[in-house]
């Protein structure tokens, strides 16, 4: 179907002035002519961006942090104006840049609904009609007449979302906000957005959740250094994006934990999840044996971090023995999904491999081959560890040592693929009339 575009970018560039702290006071204005003029520094999140979004279409924007994804949304919402080029947006634009941004703490939920509606230029009568639906969607019941400053953050966000999706927008801009709220509400939000999509509402989604973009968008746009690197079907664009960022990302995360020194041994009673000394700790252990490098290899034997189910997957990590240890050491790995589901964990003790103290040379590499990766679509993190054979003393534990993604073109859902054999058994006696 040929539909008219609702959002159009034509060679849009946007720059920000860095260091706006000077020229901030009237004093600066007066003394400026006498001072040595410092050349202004600019930052260009967008240099040349052109795209079109048709009515009812949906576009996911991906790219590294600070590449101007949010700037695009703000330009569409007319909060910012482009430095050059043209931005056109037709009709009512609703923004989910920050849920409940327009709320005033002293006003009740109900009053804030009317306020938010009037900001979006929707009359009192119109919003009155949807009022009950908004309140039931936000699920805040009697609290609707309480000032929003007494709301919990969850209630605040729920009301914010409920209002935004009920403003009958032509274009809906979503910036990472789906990561808030409980699971149940997130699901409800996504269902609602999908319904809006079927009602011809154009959606632009900025997210780091690659899976979300693949699920919800017809097209994906990869923004790289102010230019559109590629635009097209989400699966392809995301695969390209991940392939490029993979090598770089792994290097970066290894560099990050390699800088962090291992801390003192952890007393049993102090342990948090995964045996960490504090909830935020990324690396701990007494450092007798240290992990110094980590590589993820794909089926072709090259470094990668995007994989597919049923492919070969190899984890390699290098260790260095600092002090000899009394126990037989045990090497382990654990895989967590981005929503903290513990997908798999094992170590050499469980696998029945015993490294003799003597056999362990001063440095070496542990290689774990997974010939048939059974994980399904998602983002995963990998923990690697060396500890004593009983798992009580950590020599070195690195949480989230590496990130990787699994793309599943087949579309079966869940954590892992199970081998299934299907059969259809016909009941001979009962025939269709």
């Amino acid at each position: 179907m040929n539909r008219e575009p609702v959002v159009r970018f034509k060679h849009v560039a946007k720059r920000f002035e860095l260091d706006r702290s000077t020229d901030r006071t009237l004093m600066d204005l007066v003394t400026r002519p006498f001072k040595h003029a410092k050349p202004k520094e600019f930052y260009w999140p967008l240099r040349d961006v052109s795209f079109e979004l048709k009515r009812g279409g949906s576009l996911g924007i991906i790219g590294e942090n600070g590449t101007g994804k949010s700037t695009i949304l703000k330009l569409i919402a007319r909060i910012l104006v482009p430095t050059s080029g043209q931005v056109e947006a037709v009709g009512q634009v609703a923004t989910l840049l920050e849920l409940g941004a327009s709320f005033h703490p002293e006003l009740s939920g109900r009053e804030n609904i009317f306020l938010a509606a009037s900001i979006a230029n929707i009359s009192r009568q119109e919003i009155q009609r949807d009022l009950d639906e908004i309140i039931s969607f936000a699920d805040i019941g009697p609290y609707i007449d309480v000032p929003v400053k007494h709301y919990s953050s969850g209630m605040y966000v729920r009301l914010g979302f409920a209002v935004a999706v009920h403003l009958n927008p032509d274009v809906l801009l979503i910036d990472e906000v789906l990561a808030v709220g409980d699971e149940n509400f997130q699901h409800k939000c996504i269902q609602r957005i999908k319904r809006l999509q079927s009602e011809e509402v154009a959606v632009i989604l900025v997210s780091h959740g690659m899976q979300q973009i693949e699920d919800m968008c017809d097209d994906a746009l990869w923004l790289h250094e102010g230019y559109v690197r590629s635009i097209g079907s989400p699966a392809r664009v995301i695969a390209d994006y991940l392939a490029e960022s993979s090598a770089h990302e792994l290097e970066e995360s290894v560099a990050q934990w390699a800088d962090e020194p291992t801390s003192e041994p952890v007393a049993t009673q102090q342990r948090y999840e995964r045996g960490a000394p504090s909830p935020e700790a990324k690396r701990w252990g007494d450092g007798s044996i240290q992990i110094v490098d980590l590589r993820l290899l794909g089926a072709d034997g090259r470094s990668a971090n995007v994989f597919r189910p049923r492919q070969a997957f190899r984890i390699e990590f290098d260790y260095a023995v600092q002090h000899s240890v009394e126990e037989h050491p045990s090497f382990g790995v654990a895989i967590y999904r981005s929503d903290q589901v513990w997908c798999y964990g094992t170590n050499t003790t469980i696998e029945g491999i015993c490294f003799d103290q003597v056999a362990l040379s001063a440095a070496g590499t542990v290689v774990i081959d997974i010939p048939d990766l059974r994980l399904l679509h998602g983002e995963y993190t990998l923990d690697v560890a060396v500890h004593d054979s009983r798992g009580e003393v950590a020599y070195d534990y690195i949480r989230e040592a590496a990130h990787f993604y699994v793309q599943n073109p087949r579309g079966d859902q869940g954590v892992a693929r199970l081998d299934t054999h299907w059969a259809l058994v016909m009941n001979r006696e009962q025939r269709l009339p």
């Binding site: 901030r24 910012l80 104006v81 923004t95 941004a101 005033h104 002293e106 900001i119 230029n121």
Partner: protein, 294 residues
């Protein structure tokens, strides 16, 4: 003479008005603003509610505040400094103080209106001029309520009301235009230069003393020698300070019971509208940058 002057002014203004209509009305800015009148209403209500919700006496503060000021000034001027006796001083004072409070509160809250709502300005689009308009409107509501108190006091003093009282809404309208114009200019300036507020606090204090709020303008000399030039300070005050003219008009209507001079009122009106027009133009010129600066 006076009529000719008016015709001249009108002729000069016509082309300017035409340009304004073309640029703003047809350009869609004003139309967009008119579409947003419900937002203005909500923001005004929000400002009023938010201001009084957490205080015990609620909106009575807007009435008690000028009454308290009235008591203070009456004591100072009739007991401590009995030289400048003014008849029915409380009424005389309130006729100046209430419009002045409207002006000063309107300007001071107006200045901060854009910056104080920066969370809104950075996250949602709407015509930005709505913010100073709403904050001036909230102060206008306060002013109107305070006027009710003034009328009650007029009753108590059994003051004779002027038969030209119907001009009062017009005067209020002219003052609102003036205050809004100033608020528009300063709120836009405040976004870029954050010490506007600090400077204005001092300026407002000076302005208060330079405006005949608590003293009659007649105490100012009509001829004053400064560097060999004779100036009529009274006249200069009316020319340079629209608030002096406005307060004089309020007093004509409410205190003296006089019909006020129409050409005087008209000149004040022209000044106010000019300030508003300039303020609007200035605000619109810079408002597109508020999203990144506020």
């Amino acid at each position: 003479m006076c009529e000719r002057y008016l015709v001249l002014v009108a002729w000069c203004w016509l082309p300017a008005m035409e340009v304004c209509i073309e640029r703003f009305v047809l350009g869609g800015h004003l139309r967009e603003l008119i579409r947003c009148r419900e937002l203005v209403y909500h923001l005004t209500a929000r400002e009023l509610k938010a201001r009084y919700k957490s205080s015990v006496l609620g909106f009575f503060w807007s009435l008690l505040n000028p009454l308290g000021m009235m008591v203070v000034f009456t004591v100072v001027f009739t007991v401590l400094m009995p030289n400048n006796r003014v008849e029915r001083y409380p009424i005389f004072l309130l006729c100046g103080l209430l419009p002045w409070n409207f002006c000063s509160a309107g300007v001071m809250t107006g200045i901060n209106s854009v910056v104080a709502n920066s969370n809104l300005v950075k996250k949602v689009y709407f015509p930005r001029e709505v913010l100073p308009i709403a904050s001036v409107a909230a102060n206008l509501v306060n002013f109107l309520l305070a006027l009710l108190v003034l009328f009650a006091i007029l009753m108590i003093f059994q003051s004779r009301l002027s038969s030209y009282l119907w001009l009062l809404p017009l005067v209020i309208f002219i003052q609102t235009c003036f205050v809004l114009g100033v608020a528009l200019i300063l709120s836009a300036l405040h976004v870029f230069y954050r010490d506007t507020m600090m400077v204005m606090e001092v300026v407002m204090l000076a302005w208060f003393f330079l405006t005949p709020v608590f003293y009659p303008i007649e105490i100012l000399p009509t001829s004053y020698q400064i560097m060999g030039i004779t100036v009529n300070v009274q006249r200069l005050m009316y020319i340079l300070n629209p608030m002096a003219s406005l307060i004089a008009t309020y007093r004509d209507l409410l205190y003296w019971g006089y019909r006020t001079d129409l050409d005087f009122l008209l000149r004040t009106a022209v000044t106010s509208f000019a300030v508003l027009a300039f303020g609007y133009w200035f605000f619109m010129r810079y408002s597109h940058r508020f999203g990144e600066e506020a």
